[in-house]
């Protein structure tokens, strides 16, 4: 499916989505409260995106951005969905019920960035110790005991 067709299908569900085609894949920029709706549409609708292959977060110092890479094994097209989050209270809906792989990926983003995933079945730390304080991958993370600055 070409980029135009994908844009049409997404815009029909979510008119407020904006697009950025400068990268390798089509980037869809949405608002974080619309994520669940568009995720359900991507999986179950005409696009048939059944493979979420990357789920990360980026810390721009003023806000956070959630990045989801989706691909379809049937049509072989890829899109990237980005949603901006507030720095003070980063929250977004979970997609564990749509793509099961998101369970572990969202746990990792939670422990590294502090993003709260609403309705996640088991949100706790994945690799860090259970009593670790702070969110290491944020730009303002300070750890004077362990980190020796170069």
């Amino acid at each position: 499916m070409s980029n135009e067709e994908i844009k049409e299908i997404i815009s029909s569900t979510l008119p407020s989505a904006t697009y950025d085609e400068t990268g390798e894949w089509l980037n869809v920029i949405i608002d974080s409260k619309d994520w669940k709706k568009i995720a359900a549409e991507c999986r179950n609708g005409a696009l048939q995106m059944d493979f979420l292959f990357c789920l990360t977060c980026v810390d721009w110092k003023t806000h956070l951005t959630m990045v989801y890479h989706l691909t379809s094994t049937k049509h072989r097209h890829n899109i990237v969905v980005k949603a901006n989050l507030d720095h003070a209270m980063p929250e977004i809906e979970t997609v564990c019920d749509i793509w099961r792989t998101a369970e572990f990926h969202e746990r990792e983003v939670f422990e590294m960035f502090g993003v709260n995933f609403l309705n996640h079945p088991d949100l706790r730390k994945l690799i860090l110790e259970d009593d670790f304080k702070g969110f290491p991958l944020r730009k303002d993370f300070e750890d004077p005991i362990n980190m020796i600055k170069l």
Partner: protein, 179 residues
């Protein structure tokens, strides 16, 4: 009657030639050290990339079972030497301490690779790596390298054997002061 002094490699002691054979005069300590050094069983403890080099040292090309490190035991109760091959993170540190405590005396430690010596490439700007395995357990031999070549690991195993024969490992020094 001739007195022959043997070198480090063979059985320690002085041989007195007598008709019909010979008598070896030695000290118990040197015989026990010789026996221990030639049969050190390693505990398989590979956390990172140095573990691959250790595995390659254990396999056919650079065999370390020629030096007596024949069986790598999985249980610390049956092992003599622990080769810390890899990075120790904060979450792994209590596990390493517990394994070391479970090993029976006499026990020796080899820190293999830059990460186990001092945190290595993860010394700066990391929140989760222990900067050197000797923050957790006392180390006898350090092997620099990232990862060290299998020949370097063999050299360190030979140095550990020499150290045991001389009686200079931490375990032996600790034992001397024990009354």
């Amino acid at each position: 009657m001739e007195l022959k002094e043997k070198d480090n490699q063979a059985f320690p002691g002085i041989i007195h030639e007598t008709p019909g054979g010979g008598i070896v005069v030695s000290t118990f300590d040197s015989i026990i050290n010789w026996a221990r050094s030639n049969s050190l069983w390693p505990l398989s403890f590979a956390t990172s990339c140095c573990g691959i080099e250790m595995m390659s040292t254990a396999s056919a090309k650079y065999d370390f079972s020629r030096f007596g490190f024949e069986v790598a035991r999985a249980s610390p109760r049956q092992a003599d030497v622990i080769i810390i091959a890899g990075t120790i993170v904060n979450k792994m540190a209590p596990v390493l301490k517990r394994l070391y405590d479970q090993m029976a005396d006499p026990k020796y430690v080899i820190a293999m690779g830059a990460c186990a010596i001092s945190g290595g490439p993860f010394f700066y700007n990391t929140y989760s790596v222990v900067k050197g395995a000797d923050h957790i357990i006392p180390v006898d031999v350090y092997i620099p390298g990232c990862p060290p070549r299998p020949e370097a690991l063999l050299h360190s195993l030979i140095s550990l054997q020499e150290k045991i024969k001389m009686g200079m490992t931490r375990d032996q020094i600790r034992g001397e002061f024990k009354g």
